[in-house]
Symmetry: C2
Subunit: 371 residues, 2 copies
Amino acid sequence: MKILIAGSYITKFGELWEKSLKDLITEAELGVIKNSKFDDEEIEAIFVSNMAGGIFDGQLHLGAMASGVLKNYPPAMRVEGACASGGLAMIVAEYALLSGKYKTVMVVGAEKMTDVSNQMATEGLNGAADTEAEFGSTFPGLYALMAQRHMKEFGTTRDQLSAVSVKNHKHGLLNPLAQFHKEITISEVNGSEMIAPPLRLLDCSPISDGAAAVILTTKDLPNCPEIMGFGQGMDSLSLAKRKSLTTIVAGVKAADIAYKMAGIKPGDIEAAEIHDCFSIAEILAIEDLGFFKKGLGGKATIEGKTTYGGKVIINPSGGLKSNGHPVGATGIKQIAYLSQLIRDKKIKTGLTQNIGGSGATAVVHILGGKR
Amino acid sequence: MKILIAGSYITKFGELWEKSLKDLITEAELGVIKNSKFDDEEIEAIFVSNMAGGIFDGQLHLGAMASGVLKNYPPAMRVEGACASGGLAMIVAEYALLSGKYKTVMVVGAEKMTDVSNQMATEGLNGAADTEAEFGSTFPGLYALMAQRHMKEFGTTRDQLSAVSVKNHKHGLLNPLAQFHKEITISEVNGSEMIAPPLRLLDCSPISDGAAAVILTTKDLPNCPEIMGFGQGMDSLSLAKRKSLTTIVAGVKAADIAYKMAGIKPGDIEAAEIHDCFSIAEILAIEDLGFFKKGLGGKATIEGKTTYGGKVIINPSGGLKSNGHPVGATGIKQIAYLSQLIRDKKIKTGLTQNIGGSGATAVVHILGGKR
């Protein structure tokens, strides 16, 4: 049974003061139906990705809210796995389709993060950590530990970290929906405010509002990208219990399953939307996904191997850094953005990697356009 | 493909001051493995039900927490649909099994509600409502409207409402894990504090801590109850948009799908665990599920038709009212409790009904022991 992506929609990402969580979900749902060959009534179920609506918006029960946007109130539910909620909602939709219960479903991801203070947003996101959070660490601190270790073990440099953000801001210029449209330089990243050594402000993805949706179907339609493989991997919530600080083991597991299911190798991937919540996360990811040898991700980035004309285009959308990171929307946006590149025949085969927390949950999808 | 319930476990429900959300999840996971023929390593995935860990416990990413309890870090995620989260997590597990991706999975539900003030708990739960919440209504107020309408349309009486709570407290005496072990009388319910007319304190289920877990498998095992049918239905979040205040349309839809899948009729059900968050909710449910004609649920209850020796045993566990209502745990507890009755050969066929919010989401399961 083949699962096809029959439509996609992404809202503008950014500080969308005039829009509520409900507005964003509604725009994405109606937008994706318009961008597909399906009517409202043909959507048999909805899977909603959102991390922190309860904390940021006082709104739980988003399944019911998403269901109410469509005429027939299709079955709906929310799926959550911190910042990997989008990837997980995709997986639940895939289970539902493969079970034969439904033929056509929608996956919608949304997050409205700017209606609370930065402190509250930080504390809310910290709910995705465990023991380290009790000792006061926030996510930049956890990824900073990984960056320090990577620099020590492999000689990754400050300039190499900065090259990730510089490249993603450049890619963001090509994406009209990106939160930032501003080219930055390595020296600007190097000189930005220190957050958690060695990570500086411009190493970090922003607080964002936004939504994205896709329609998945097992019906036979022409010119629709196919979901060739998907996998989920897990590791300890607490960094202290992990075997390595320079490999996200959950991401390696997820990728292994997805590559095997798709029957392809890392070298077959032309573009990938990966989870660059911090610059170091992109370096870890491009190594863990098999695009570059462990330790050489920073070097590959600064040498231009992760952009147009290089080995693999990493984060053509601008990634979390420049496109923005409304957490519940991110995993769906990755799928939507890549599927649009495939539909537009810019690439044939792509990969998405969505990470939850500091790497306890990871989801990898492989999309193909061989049809 | 048959899905069997290969093990179940329920923690004590109540005000468990000495236990954290993590403690409750851990106890349920290790307990259900002990109560099954499976080892830790044989659990291929975990589906976690929880409504408000982000608000009540500052803890999101519960999938990763639940995964970390087991040795091999199986894939895990959280599923949420307000108070119907448990029923929905069951459905996701069923999709995953029917997709053929896994043969044996765990579903665990937990909620730790007593670590916040009553006001914060009320506000947190209110995140499951929509427009009415903006005008200040809380859940007792919404169910009170349904009760008023049911009394006006069908002549349901104060004593009939009270008979629900009296019967459920009596059933709770038989359940050592119930939050309350205290017989109450109709006049005690009638005289308890007014909450939202006509609903009084003893019409309302309590704030509770607790967890429950089941292991589901498609492997062939002897003496395991079978999931014969399941269904999900939805309706408007807002009462103002509903066609009726005396029928939970989502529940009717869910029951129709589940009865059809199981190939049985309401008259075949010997016992049912249903969602009595308020006394009126049980009256609506036993009518909507087809056990009694619309309008006659209150009369049937006060005449003893919903207890031992009657037509169908409603809430043998004591229900939400007496067993307690840790929201994320409730839907799993219903399945676990009924499956134990089937395994102990006390009943052959049972039904669970789990409602989210004021009825926007509903999930019905039918369990059978014909093997």
